[in-house]
Every structure is written in C-alpha cells, then in structure tokens.
C-alpha cells in the first residue's frame, strides 16, 4: 500500500540496465559510448532518487508503522490436529489422504449425515428458536445422557442423584468440569494418561489446574503398560483427580480389559481418587454402546461417585453442533441441585448455554425408541466398518511381508490406531505419499477406506522398511498412476511414486 505513490518510479531500475546492455562500447562511433555512459549515470541517479522517495513517503501514517496495542501478541502455535488438516487441504495432490482428524468417513471417504439426524431434524423445525431458557429440553438431554452412560436401572439414576448440564460437546464438558474442580479444589492437580488427547492439557491448563501424567501406553508392546499404570495410581497422593478414557482411548486405541478396569477401580477406592471419565466414543470401540460403557459400570459397582464428560460429536454424528453433557454423581438430590447450580453459573459466564438445535436433536433421538434403534444400528455400521479396515490394513501389511509386528492395529479399538510410526516417518508419509496424520503416528482409521487401504499399507511399509536404500516396489496390479498431476509436489521422489502404481 505504501508503495503506491511511487510505483511509477519502480520500473526505472529494471528498465535502464537494458539500455546499458544494448549500447555496448563502440570504438567506431564514440557518441554511442557517451550514450551508454549517460544511461549508466541516469540509472544510478534514478535509483538514488527512488530510494529517497520510498523512505520519505513511507514514514508517514502508513498503518503498518503505527503503534498497535497488539504489538506484543505473538502468533499462536497452530493446534496440532487442525494443523494436519490444514497441511492436507493445502496439498494439491488428487490422491492425498487425511488420516488426521477423528471424524468418521464412509467407504467413499465422505462425511456422513446419519439417517437418524435427518429424521429428527425434520421433526424439530423452526419451533425451537426461543430464548435460551429451554430448561425442559435441557433437562431431558441430561436425563437421557445419564441413562445412556450410567444405565437406567441404577439407583443413582432412578433417584436423580446426579448433577448435569448440557455442554459444548466433550471439550465444553471437560472445561466446565476443570473450572469446577479449580473452584472447589483450588490446589488440586489432574492426572492424564500418557499419552492423551492433545487438547486435554490446554483445557485444564486454561482452567489453571496443573496436569500430571500416569503411565499408560507401552511403546514396545504397543499396548497397555498396566504395571506402571497401577504404580502411578498408587503413588499419587490420596484423593487425586484422574482423567480416564473408558473406551477407545485417544490417541492410542489401547483400552484396559474388564479385569484390569476392576483392579484399577479397587485401587482408586483405596486411594480415594476421583475418576473423571471423558466419554467421546461410546459405541465406537465395540459397536455396542452398552459394552463400551463397561468401565464406568465397573466403577459404579464399586460405589465410586464419578464425573463424566460425554461427547455426541462422533457417535451421534453431530460434530458441528457441539452437543455433549457433563454429569457428576452425588450423594443426594439436594447436593445434586447445589452442584448443578454451580455448573450452570460457570457455564453462564462462558457461553450461557449450548445451542437448542443440538440439544433438541440429542434429546429427541435418545428418548424416541424408534429413532434410537435406528441410531444404534448406524453406530454398529460405523464401528464395524472401522474394525474391518483395521483387519484389512493389518493383512495388507503382513502380505507385504513387513518385518514389523502390526498386531496392534487390530488389538487397538475405536477410531484411532497408534501406529508406532516415528515423527520422521510421519513427515515422510506426508511429503512423499501425501498421507497426513498427527505427529505422534496416530492414524484415524475412520478415514481408511477399501479404496485407499492398500495404498496406505504400501506407504507405511515403504517408510518403515528397515533398509531404506533398497526399496522394493511391489506392483499391485490394475491401478494406474498419473504422476504428471503430482509431479511438482513429488519433487525428487517422482521415481518412487511412479513405481507405486497408485489408485486415483
């Protein structure tokens, strides 16, 4: 912008050297030499003049030079998971694959609008645009959510001995709880499994609750490090707060067995720890919502008073609507009312309430047996597809005679597979094969399809093959490659891709 006034001068420095080139010294016609000298002189003079002009004009009130209140605001680090999607979106390659965000895709790789959602939305219509005190519908959502996760026939549910509020999906529910924890246990900390969803730290961090970790994932076995987990639980100070993933652990997909959950629950009882469950994938681990709630049911049998953040983003397919539920089990109804009032106060100062649209959808589907049955079917379909893709990916890698053990792909459950790929290998997958995933090697199996699974297997095999100098490129048959489209993005690795015979 500040260059506009003297744009007319900017051509000169480039224009003049051409004159100099054209007029080479001519011994026969000395007047040409004079012309050339004059051109050089004029060129230098113009450069000096334009530099002064530029400096003179731009020191006036150009906005970029004016002091801003926000000079000290540095650019924020990009959210890790969203950064993967950003990189994916920026990639022009037509056969790129995004295995980053945990959002379910069908076998065509497309987002799915669940049938139940369409049916329920038709019923809701525009009648819900009332003021945000839609207490009846909110209460219904909380009641139905509690039944879904805690079981209808439990005393604590029947007697309404729980406090709950609708929340902005899982993140919102965790955040409200973190603020609540800070308010009533100001010196407490929270123990996260190592690893955990990347946003957990920020959520409790922004609520000023320091985070600690307990051992969870065993990188060697790519399974649960149960012994170390129990040690950490035992060594934590009595009455600590723990965040637990009841099923389909994010990012590892590694879940304790029922027996292990029972032992964890007993130890929690001895240590008087507070278990807070982040339930983001009920239904996605096994395909059965009851089965996936087993860990929580075990804790309830042992008499724990737990807290629960439920997300309906994935299992109900409501991602963008931001619906979830925060619930805390209490001793009696009076306490439930008191705690609910505190939770409401916290949420009122943050966003007042979630949207009625999302709340209506969830309460409709959970309370209507026909729509609920339809939903349960759809959850099973989604979970089954993911399980099939797990098996297919593992088989493909084993068929390629990969030297590594890929059992964990089928051992792990839920949306994610903790592949064990290193950061370097993840980067290589992105650069050379246009396959995107988070840096920790977490693959969203929900984005793997029958069409791309072979390519993914091949690519993983490529980057993990022990001897990187000898690349064995297997021909996988009828797929054709069109490298011309991607020649620019492949750069020096054109040969590799050409040999891969990629499906488009």
């Amino acid at each position: 912008m500040e260059d506009e006034p003297h744009r007319c001068f900017s051509f000169l420095p480039t224009f003049l050297p051409l004159h100099i080139l054209i007029y080479t010294p001519n011994p026969v016609l000395p007047e040409h030499n004079r012309t050339k000298s004059a051109a050089v002189f004029f060129h230098i003079l113009t450069m000096i003049i334009s530099r002064f002009l530029r400096r003179g004009i731009s020191t006036s009130t150009s906005p970029t030079r004016r002091r801003s209140w926000w000079d000290h605001v540095t650019p924020a680090l990009k959210d890790l998971i969203n950064a993967v999607t950003d990189a994916f979106l920026a990639d022009p390659c037509p056969y790129k694959i995004n295995l980053g965000v945990g959002a379910y895709r069908d076998d065509e790789g497309k987002p799915v609008v669940l049938q139940w959602v369409r049916e329920a939305e038709g019923k809701i219509g525009a009648t819900n645009f009332l003021e945000s005190t839609s207490t009846a519908i909110s209460s219904k959502l909380v009641e139905e959510s509690a039944k879904l996760i805690y079981r209808e026939d439990l005393d604590v549910i029947k007697e309404r001995r729980f406090a709950g509020i609708p929340a902005l999906s899982g993140t919102g529910a965790c955040r409200i709880f973190a603020e609540f924890q800070k308010r009533f246990y100001p010196d407490s900390t929270i123990y996260f499994p190592d690893p955990t969803w990347s946003n957990h730290r920020n959520i409790w961090g922004d609520a000023h609750v320091p985070g600690r970790t307990f051992h969870y994932y065993h990188p060697d076995s790519k399974g649960l490090n149960f012994v170390a987990l129990m040690d950490d639980v035992k060594n934590a100070p009595d009455g600590s707060f723990f965040l637990l993933h009841p099923c389909a652990h994010n990012p590892t997909g590694v879940d304790p067995t029922d027996e292990q959950w029972r032992e964890i629950s007993s130890l929690f009882k001895v240590k008087n720890h507070f278990p807070f469950f982040d339930v983001a994938y009920q239904g996605f681990a096994s395909g059965d919502v009851e089965r996936d709630a087993q860990a929580i049911r075990i804790f309830l049998e042992d008499g724990h008073s737990i807290g629960c953040a439920q997300s309906f983003a994935k299992n109900l397919g409501l991602y963008g609507h931001r619906v979830g539920c925060l619930s805390i089990l209490c001793n009696d109804k009076i306490q439930a009312v008191a705690i609910k009032s505190q939770l409401k106060q916290i949420s009122n100062a943050m966003y007042s309430s979630p949207t009625i649209h999302g709340i209506s959808l969830v309460s409709k589907i959970l309370s209507n047996p026909d729509i609920k049955a339809l939903w349960l079917k759809e959850v099973k379909v989604m979970a089954t597809r993911i399980q099939r893709m797990r098996a297919t990916l593992r088989e493909a890698l084993e068929r390629l005679r990969s030297p590594l053990n890929w059992q964990h792909i089928t051992n792990q459950a839920g949306m994610f597979c903790f592949s064990g790929l290193t950061r370097a290998e993840v980067d290589q997958l992105a650069k050379e094969f246009h396959i995107y995933m988070t840096h920790d090697g977490r693959i969203s199996m929900a984005s793997v399809t029958t069409k791309n699974v072979d390519y993914v297997a091949r690519a993983i095999h490529e980057v993990t093959a022990s001897n990187r100098d000898i690349k064995i490129l297997h021909n996988i048959g009828a797929y054709k490659v069109n490298t011309d489209i991607c020649s620019t993005s492949l750069g020096t690795n054109k040969t590799r891709a050409r040999g891969m015979n990629l499906a488009l």
Binding site: P63, W70, A76, G170, F184, P186, K269, G303, V337, K344
Partner: protein, 460 residues
C-alpha cells in the same frame, strides 16, 4: 451403595492434612464450609500411620447452592404465578403483541433452506464459519469500511454475546495482565461474572443518574479520565442494557476524545444492532465513529435479539487492529483461547445468519422485520408514556420512557417498589427497576401504568 472401606493409608500421613489445607482455601463462591473437615477422608494421625476411613460420601459435600441468576430467576417466578393479569417484563426476549415468542420469517426460510440442502455437520474451524465471519464484520463496520478492505479486523465466531465477551476477556487477561475493564454502573448482570471468571479486574464508571433518570455524562467522563492509562472501557454500542439510555452523537464524540486522550481501548458490546432504532446502520454509528478515527477497537456481537436466534448462540468477537499482520496474530490467539473452551463453535446459527445476510432478498426481509419489531417497541413506549402522563396527576416527568431506547427501560423504581410491582400487581421485572418493553403489549400499557404509579407514589 454404601460400602465402607477401612484401609491403612500409605506412608504419607500428610496426605490427609493436605485436604484440610484445601478446605482453608478459596471460599468466596459459597464453597466448602471452613469448619467442615473433608468428609471424604476422616483421618486421625497416629504417628506415622493414619487410619483412613473412606466412605461413599461425595467429594463435593460442602458445595452450597449458587445464587439464582437475577434475570432468569424472574422468568421462573413468573411461570409459577397463576394470576390472570400477570406480566413478565423480566428477560429481554422479544414478544409479539400477543406476548408470544417470535420466530422471524427470514429465519424460518433460512432454516428450511438449510434442511433442504442437507449439508453435513462437520466441525467448523476453530474461528467459525468463514462466510459468517465475513458478513458479521461487514454488518457491523459497513461493507466498504477500510478496516475490512485492509483486513485489519480479527473476527472469530463466538457463542453469542456471552461467548464472544468471554473470548475477549481471556485475551485481555493473557496479554494485558493487570489491566482493568471499566463497566458502566449499572450494566448487564453477566458482565461482572464473565470478567470475574476470566480473572480480569474491573471497576465501574458512573452512568445512570437516578435524579434525571438519564445519563450522568459528567460522572462518566470523569471516571473514564481517572482510570489508569490503558484501561479497557466497556461501552454498549446502542440500546444500553439495563437503562435504555444512550449517549447522544455529540456525547459519543467526547467519550471518544477522552478514551483517545487517556490511551484506553474501547470495548463495545453490541447486542441490539438494528433493534434500537430499527436501522442496522444507525445502531452501528457509535462503533463506526470510533473506528473511523483510526482507533483500535474490540467489539462483541450477538444475534440473539435482532435475529431472534437466542437459543442458537450465535455472535462474534471482532478486534480492529492497526495492521493486517496484527489482526492475524490476534486472531490466532483468539483461536488458541477458544480451542480449550469448546474446540469449535456450533454450525447451525452461523449458517442461518450467513444465509440471511448473504442473500439480498432475505436481507431486505430481515431489515423489514427488524423495523417492525423496533417499531412495536416504540409504539409501546408511546402508549405507556401516554398512560402514565394521563393517569399520574403528580406532575412527575415520565418522558424518560420516550427518551430511552431499545428493549429496556429503567423505571427508577427501587427494590421495595419493584417488590410491590410483583407482589401486588404480578408484574415481574428485575429488582434494579428494569422493565423489558419487548414483553409489553399495547393492551397492557394501562395496567402497567397503574402499577408503576402505585408503586412509585405509595411505596418507599
């Protein structure tokens, strides 16, 4: 459920003491009672070994009931009342002449379009729907405003006004630690909660003058001048809540002068654009005037009232910066704050607003409906004023009803008088004397006038 475990604690007898420490901690929100020991662990130290009795007592045993929200509590009390003449002038939610909630026609149309399109419900980016962010900034600052063309506005979709204010508050806390926000006295009740929870200190500037039932302009200017340099001044862009008293254009200019002079940052809360005068542009005049002066401005928007989208929680936070580069940085930090709060905002309301504002036919229709809604409130003000003037023989000046603007009117009634309004006349209002004219019909103006006159003169 009541199982009791007796167990020997590990060799950390101090663990039980730490809970007593915790109990001595923060108490100012009615949390744990000081005298109560932590009921979850009843421990007695015997030298190095403690006997810990763990029962199924809740960890949150001592949590007391939070005070009811003063505004929403009014609606609840109203619902419980069975009197046939009852009137709810509590919540600022628009009602028709028949006192029914009103779903705007444009919203119904936009919603139907969305249903037909059947778009997916994927996550929005953290900053919200791009189409919405574009139109919301244009709506507030004007489509041709240089700040938009120069990309100097950081706009992030927020959860209506509340959520947008909270994002800004968190930004202030993070980048201006210790800086104060000055809020008007009185102001919307939730402002204080938002800044408290965001740990941003605040203080008040004089605003309402009970003697004139008007603006205490001198007090306001004096308090803004007296604030430490670099404070954030929270201003209501139009239709001040709860008083309905707005500065005149000349007064706005003086306010801008003082803010510039003292190097403060203006922080606008615009919840009623279009609702105050009936014109979207007129109601944005104050914000636009500040921006035209080259000032850096924060502005929170809400579509709860003007589009009736209360329950869809749609709004935006805008930060006008002096350069596009600063705006990009600020936007990235707003996203950084939003992600651990709710990850990304809800999609439905954003799509509705984007569709309405982005479609010229729907936009025209919206303008017409807004004029109708604002017009109804103006008519009600006139009728109320006429009723008060004709019925009240004391010669009291009721013209403030006409001078005030927007959904609310500050009647000047004190708490006892407000109680009388409710107890005797079954008129529900907030205890600060605020009535929501959006909840008043022409048919009920005379009744209300009787109630106000009675409460004003016969109750002290």
């Amino acid at each position: 459920m009541a199982s009791t475990l007796l167990s020997l604690a590990s060799a950390t007898p101090s663990a039980s003491l730490s809970f007593h420490e915790i109990n001595k901690g923060k108490l100012n929100r009615g949390c744990m009672n000081k005298e109560k020991t932590n009921p979850f662990i009843k421990a007695k130290s015997f030298g190095r070994v403690s006997m810990v009795v763990a029962s199924n007592v809740s960890r949150f045993e001592g949590i007391t009931m939070a005070p009811p929200d003063p505004i929403l509590g009014v609606s609840e009390a109203f619902k419980a009342d069975n009197h046939e003449l009852k009137l709810n002038l509590g919540v600022g939610a628009y009602r028709t002449e028949e006192l029914q909630p009103y779903v705007l026609d444009v919203v119904k149309k936009a919603d139907k379009l969305l249903l037909e399109k059947g778009e997916n419900r994927e996550y929005l980016p953290i900053e919200g729907l791009a189409a919405f962010n574009k139109v919301t900034a244009e709506l507030l600052f004007g489509v041709d405003n240089p700040v938009i063309r120069q990309q100097r506005v950081a706009t992030v979709q927020g959860l209506s006004g509340t959520g947008s204010l909270r994002l800004a508050a968190a930004l202030i806390e993070r980048y201006f630690p210790g800086a104060k926000v000055l809020i008007s006295s009185p102001t919307w009740g939730n402002h204080k909660n938002i800044f408290n929870d965001a740990r941003v200190p605040w203080s008040e500037y004089r605003y309402y003058d009970p003697k004139t039932v008007g603006l205490d302009f001198e007090g306001m200017i004096a308090d803004i001048k007296a604030a430490p340099e670099g404070s954030f001044i929270l201003l209501h862009g139009c239709a001040h809540n709860p008083t309905g008293i707005d500065p005149t254009p000349e007064e706005w200019r003086v306010i801008a002068d003082v803010i510039q002079e003292k190097n403060h940052i203006p922080f606008f809360d615009i919840a009623y654009q279009g609702f105050a005068s009936g014109s979207l542009d007129t109601d944005a005049a104050s914000v636009r005037m500040f921006v035209a002066r080259g000032m850096e401005v924060i502005a929170a928007q809400s579509y709860s009232k003007n589009l009736g989208l209360y329950a869809e929680r749609i709004g935006a936070i805008n930060v006008v910066c002096s350069s596009p580069e600063a705006a990009a940085r600020v936007k990235s930090q707003l996203k950084r704050i939003a992600r651990p709060m709710y990850s990304n905002p809800p999609v439905h309301g954003a799509r509705i607003v984007a569709n309405i504002v982005g479609d010229s036919a729907l936009f025209k229709e919206w303008n017409a409906e807004m004029e109708m809604m604002a017009g109804r409130i103006k008519n009600v003000r006139h009728k109320l004023f006429d009723s008060l003037s004709s019925k009240d023989k004391s010669g009291k000046d009721w013209s403030f009803v006409l001078k005030q603007i927007g959904m609310f009117s500050f009647t000047g009634l004190n708490k006892a008088q407000c109680d009388n309004m409710t107890n005797k006349w079954h008129v529900y209002m907030t205890k600060d004397g605020r009535i929501s004219l959006a909840g008043l019909s022409l048919a009920k103006c005379e009744y209300l006038a009787d109630a106000i006159i009675d409460s004003y003169h016969d109750v002290s």
